[in-house]
């Protein structure tokens, strides 16, 4: 006998969205101007959420929390923070 039920020990498994759809936390949305962007990947490296695609410089808005770090760090000013509706 190992246990009365299978889940008798408090175990968790890796998944995106462990904190929910965190995109709903956003008040402002980062928008990349692809005309200005030079694909330096600085936004990618600092994004705490790992929601920026480093090649395409596109953002996964399902989880982007809208922290604005990417916009502040972008050397070309390609990212603007736009108010969410």
């Amino acid at each position: 006998m190992k246990s009365l039920t299978k889940a008798y020990r408090p175990i968790s498994w890796p998944t995106k969205g462990a904190g929910g759809d965190t995109g709903s936390w956003r008040t402002h949305r980062p928008v990349v101007d692809t005309q200005i962007c030079n694909k330096c990947q600085i936004c990618w490296v600092y994004c705490p959420e790992a929601v920026i695609d480093r090649q395409e410089i596109t953002i996964d808005y399902r989880y982007c929390k809208g922290c604005g770090v990417c916009a502040v760090e972008c050397p070309t000013g390609a990212i603007s923070m736009e108010m969410e509706e």
Binding site: M1, S3, Y8, R9, P10, I11, S12, P14
Partner: protein, 376 residues
């Protein structure tokens, strides 16, 4: 049964030999009297290659239990030992072991607790861990210490609940008694290698004990409570199979002596159980129909076996080596009364606290106490 070997040995060293024959992987340890000699013996066995394990000389008992639970979560068979304030210092991590369902086995060599300091035995240390979710055995001889450690690993790993094997400081830990060592082959037959069904494994990443919401938390706690109760048949099975393989028997959940026709029953745990057999003989010589009921398993409290074993209309004399602060008397008496209430109204329970801080409990003294209690 393969040829066994008989030696003279102390309880502490018997414990170390049992741990060695259980083929443990990791032993974190920290010195405290009277447990120290277990750690010293294991450290030496690891050093000289007799035991293929890691001894981790941690910097305190909180850390020794913390290292133990983590090593267990990594998939290792783990043992540690402590006494008194060392056990108290571990308290927080004891809960992690049980809540996390990690089958650590630990010896607690019973010793009275600070303040003031004492080096000598009583049971306040392990009783203070009553509600940590550990299974607790109490042993009455060096041989029983050896046998129980092996049984403890089996039970712990079957049901994923940590087990504490208690025995009195000095009276057991430091006294030489004959010790029968079963062959390693027999022990391996009794205790298979530990194969955890979950462990910390990068090939299958999963996380242990994240924060839980109440609807998830409560069922985990309920399962722990249920599974502790469900360990009783496993304890019995382990004792029986150990007997089948080695021929040795210390009782399963309880141990009894001249109990069948007893009118007066001594009820006590740990080393008192051995000496009380002699007290029972003295009382019998005096014409008193005395007997002994010694819970070998203190937690889970073997209620059904006690209820079944007690003769009709017996007077039960509970000899507690601990205080139940806030109540008169000791903790064992309270436990027993709560079990008998409404089930065995024929039984009378009387209680005395004795042997605190190592006061010697001789057969004559305990026989006299029991006589005096009869007149109360």
């Amino acid at each position: 049964m393969k040829t066994a070997q008989v030696i003279m040995d102390t309880g502490a060293h018997a414990a170390a030999l049992a741990v060695k024959s259980a083929r443990v992987d990791v032993v974190p340890g920290y010195p405290i009297t009277p447990q120290t000699s277990i750690m010293e013996a294991l450290a030496a066995m690891v050093e000289n290659g007799e035991l293929h394990a890691r001894f981790i000389p941690v910097e305190g008992e909180h850390s020794s239990m913390a290292a133990a639970v983590a090593a267990s979560a990594a998939g290792a068979r783990v043992f540690t030992a402590t006494s008194a304030n060392g056990l108290l210092y571990m308290h927080e991590v004891l809960h992690m072991a049980s809540g996390g369902r990690l089958p650590v086995v630990m010896c607690n060599v019973n010793r009275g607790i600070f303040a003031p300091w004492t080096l000598w035995a009583d049971h306040q240390d392990s009783m203070a861990q009553r509600d940590t979710g550990w299974i607790q055995y109490h042993c009455s001889s060096n041989q029983e210490v050896f046998n129980t450690i092996l049984q403890a690993f089996r039970v712990a790993e079957q049901i994923n609940i940590p087990v504490m094997v208690n025995f009195d400081g000095f009276a057991i830990s430091h006294c030489l008694m004959p010790l029968t060592l079963p062959s390693q082959e027999d022990i391996d037959r009794f205790l298979p290698p530990y194969e955890p069904e979950w462990r910390l494994d990068p090939a299958h990443p999963s996380s242990f004990s994240n924060v839980t919401n109440a609807p998830e938390y409560a069922p985990f706690r309920q399962m722990l409570s249920d599974d502790i109760m469900a360990s009783i048949p496993l304890v019995k099975q382990a004792a029986q199979e150990y007997k089948d393989i080695t021929g040795m028997w210390d009782g399963d959940t309880i141990d009894t002596y001249r109990l069948e026709d007893a009118e007066v029953v001594a009820f006590a745990i740990n080393s008192m159980g051995a000496e009380l057999r002699l007290s029972i003989d003295i009382l019998r010589q005096q014409g008193i129909k005395a007997g002994l009921l010694r819970p070998r398993l203190y937690l889970p409290f073997p209620a059904e076996d006690i209820i079944t074993a007690l003769p009709q209309n017996a007077q039960v004399m509970v000899l507690d080596r601990n205080y139940n602060f806030g109540h008169p008397g000791g903790i064992l008496a309270s436990e027993l009364k709560s079990v008998l209430f409404g089930r065995r109204n024929d039984i009378t329970v009387k209680n005395r606290v004795m042997g605190i801080g190592g006061i010697d409990l001789t057969r004559q003294f305990m026989a006299a106490e029991i006589r005096a209690m009869m007149d109360e």
